[in-house]
Amino acid sequence: MNRLAQEHVLDVQGVAMTFGGLMALSNLNFQVKKGTIKAVIGPNGAGKTTLFNIITGSFPPTKGTVKFKDEPIENLKAHKIADRGISRTFQTIELFSNMTVLENVMMGCHTCVRTSFLSSGLKLPRSHRKETEILDRAMKVLRFIGLGEKINEPADSLALGEQKILEIGRALASEPELVCLDEPAAGLNETETHVASSLIKAINAKGITVLLVEHDMKVVMNISDEILVLNYGQKIAEGTPEGIRNNPRVIEAYLGGEA
């Protein structure tokens, strides 16, 4: 196998997306290296969430290919992509609010441990065994993310910071190779933000590749290995945090040009 290809977990080539004539993304190319943290930043409406939705299969791109471990995934349904090993969180928290913390994480294990309707209805030993397995894995994840104490609380009773953490935990439960985090620090206070950044680092330390969209620049600058900057659906810069911070195009995009 080609060494370069293996290095790139995700390879986005020429991706474009139009919504009813409106260009949300145009001719986007970038790669994510295995085992790194890559951040996608850009002002509002730059197309970051659209990019996430394409990668995770919410809808196919109008043009271009997305390769995950050298295999095209751009036309796969979301659940198939999840099966391949990409998991995600959402910008507006999409926890299963009618479930407990534990159940949310157990739901995350769905891709790996599946039981049939019949065997779970009859509570066959096999399904019982799998259920125990799911429980073990979920508990492990919960201890890892530090919510081990709150397993039986309803998900929507948690504080915002904990909900964000839980959503990340749920994404981890499927033991993915790539996690896509959509604004993990949005709305969090300083302490919570700190917790979230250390968690992301810890995830990365386990060898999981991370792709994240984030507005909180402190977080982005602190944790990412590489940053991709989008504006009006186009890539305007890509590079290390230091390089991005001093890139004039980025500053203009953020603080605005002359008005």
């Binding site: 409106l22 949005a186 507005h215 909180d216 620049m217 402190k218 600058m221 603080l255 605005g256 008005a259």
Partner: protein
Amino acid sequence: MLKIEGISAAYHSIPVLKDVSIHVPKGKVVSIIGANGSGKSTLLKAISGLIKINQGRIQYQDQDITAIPAHRIVGLGISLVPEGRQLFAHLSVQDNIRLGAYHYFKKSNRAEIEQSVKQAYQIFPILEKRSKQIAGTLSGGEQQMLAIARALMGRPELLLLDEPSMGIAPLIVREIFNVIVNLNQAGTTILLVEQNAKAALKVAHHSYVLESGNIVLEGIAAELLHNPKVKEVYLGG
């Protein structure tokens, strides 16, 4: 003119505004800047009555408007140009503009309304050309103009603008900000929420910087423009 005293608000029980106080003097442009998710839009929604606040008081021209429902706020002289335009996307440009005059439509005669419509077209000539077009089919910049025109039809004394530059090409942004300056010079008080800090600080007299629901900086706009802390808020320390 507008006094906000220690308001807190939450969205789905997640606190978004924490004890925010703001003062908008008559005839001035006041801007609120801050990164995404800092609570700017929530603040404007709270003023215009779209969301309920948990604590604090909003006072407008010596009247407590904290508990007044949204559809009556506009009658008091406050119009909001909401984030993302929020047009009536399936109605024509004309209809969008006329509906802006809804709250006094019944009380005034046709000519008076048409006069206001004409004024709106004078401010944004492009809209007159597009008057029969369906609002949803306009370009982003035109939509933003339409949203402002619609708000102006409500004859506001205080105009609230939520990110007028969002997703719009720089050239148009400049045009819109010119309009904002002109409006202010014509006597309209303006509260402007912007992510585009430079643009906002240039047109504003006074400015507040919001971060995670708290006011972290406040001052004369021109001074803030050079304050390194602003860059830090945006691009991280």
